[in-house]
């Protein structure tokens, strides 16, 4: 695709812990070296990080907004917005990674998976999902919106 700068496979209906993720994509959060499998959710207002990932990221979390509450599929949770780098990972020989200075809702109360939502993240990147014609051929394309 002309606008796409990189792509990777995405997983469909993948089980991560207690949760089944309809669409899961690979990313890196902040300066963490490990790769995360995150729920891509265009219907989510914010990207969300909680649980042990939030604990590991603690040293990188600065300048929080005031705490506020947000409605989620698991009920209302409170937390704050932080500015965090999220990197979408392209597979080798399939373009380049895309780094996004994002706004993420971090909540110790969130027990669900990492969510990549619209505000503060998807709103400034182009992306497309190609379902492919056979299992294992699903491709997540991404690129700069500018």
């Amino acid at each position: 695709m002309l606008w796409s700068s990189g792509c990777s496979l995405f997983l469909v209906s993948s089980k991560v812990g207690h949760w089944r993720l309809p669409i899961a994509v690979k990313c890196r959060i902040g300066n963490l070296e490990e790769t995360e499998l995150a729920l891509l959710d265009t219907g989510a207002e914010w990207s969300v990080i909680g649980g042990e990932t939030a604990k590991i990221l603690e040293d990188e979390l600065n300048f929080p907004t005031e705490s506020f509450t947000m409605s989620t599929r698991l009920g209302r949770i409170s937390g704050s917005l932080y500015r965090i780098i999220i990197r979408l990972l392209a597979e080798e020989n399939f373009g380049y990674d895309l780094t996004v200075e994002s706004s993420v809702f971090v909540s110790r109360e969130w027990e669900g998976p990492i969510v990549l939502g619209y505000r503060g993240f998807l709103e400034r990147i182009r992306f497309a999902l190609d379902p492919g014609v056979a299992p294992g051929e699903q491709i997540f394309y991404f690129g700069l919106a500018e």
Binding site: K55, T65, E66, F68, A90, D97, V100, E123
Partner: protein, 150 residues
């Protein structure tokens, strides 16, 4: 802030009604001096909670930075995300990891596991502990963590 509000209320309630509006305005202005930006910050929080993000951004766009740390943090958090291309690609093939999970998850119920290219790097009840052990063995980079349902 609560004490100040109570004082303001007491002052205003003792005055004739015709003067109350005028005095109330003056007291609010004093409160604003005592806690600059607090009301705006509270307003922005309400907008964000209601999902009115563009409205919150509009309000913040008229505010000079440095009035209060709370407002500065809202401005930072609600600013438009910035994306840039890296001239590298660090994604591993997730297909191999998915195959491993399909075939081996049963043995690791309730645990965190770390995989890379379909190879198990470690397993532990705690992600934090698993991460520490991978740092010690130099295997953390590029690994992918999964929590297996129990």
């Amino acid at each position: 802030m609560t004490v100040l509000l109570k004082e303001a209320f007491d002052k205003v309630s003792k005055l004739p009604e015709t003067l109350q509006d005028e005095i109330a305005k003056e007291i609010l202005a004093e409160l604003e001096t005592e806690a600059p930006g607090e009301k705006i910050s509270e307003h922005v929080k309400k907008l964000v909670e209601n999902g009115q993000i563009e409205d919150a951004r509009d309000v913040l766009s008229t505010i000079q930075p440095g009035i209060s740390s709370a407002l500065d943090n809202w401005q930072r958090a609600l600013s438009i995300p910035k994306a840039k291309l890296d001239k590298s690609s660090e994604g591993e093939n997730v297909k191999d990891d998915a195959l491993w999970l399909r075939d081996n998850s049963e043995k690791y119920k309730g645990k965190w596991i770390a995989l890379k290219n379909g190879v198990l790097l470690g397993a532990h009840n705690s992600r934090v502990e698993l991460r520490c052990s991978l740092i010690q063995t130099g295997k953390l980079s590029g690994s992918m963590f999964f929590r297996i349902d129990d």
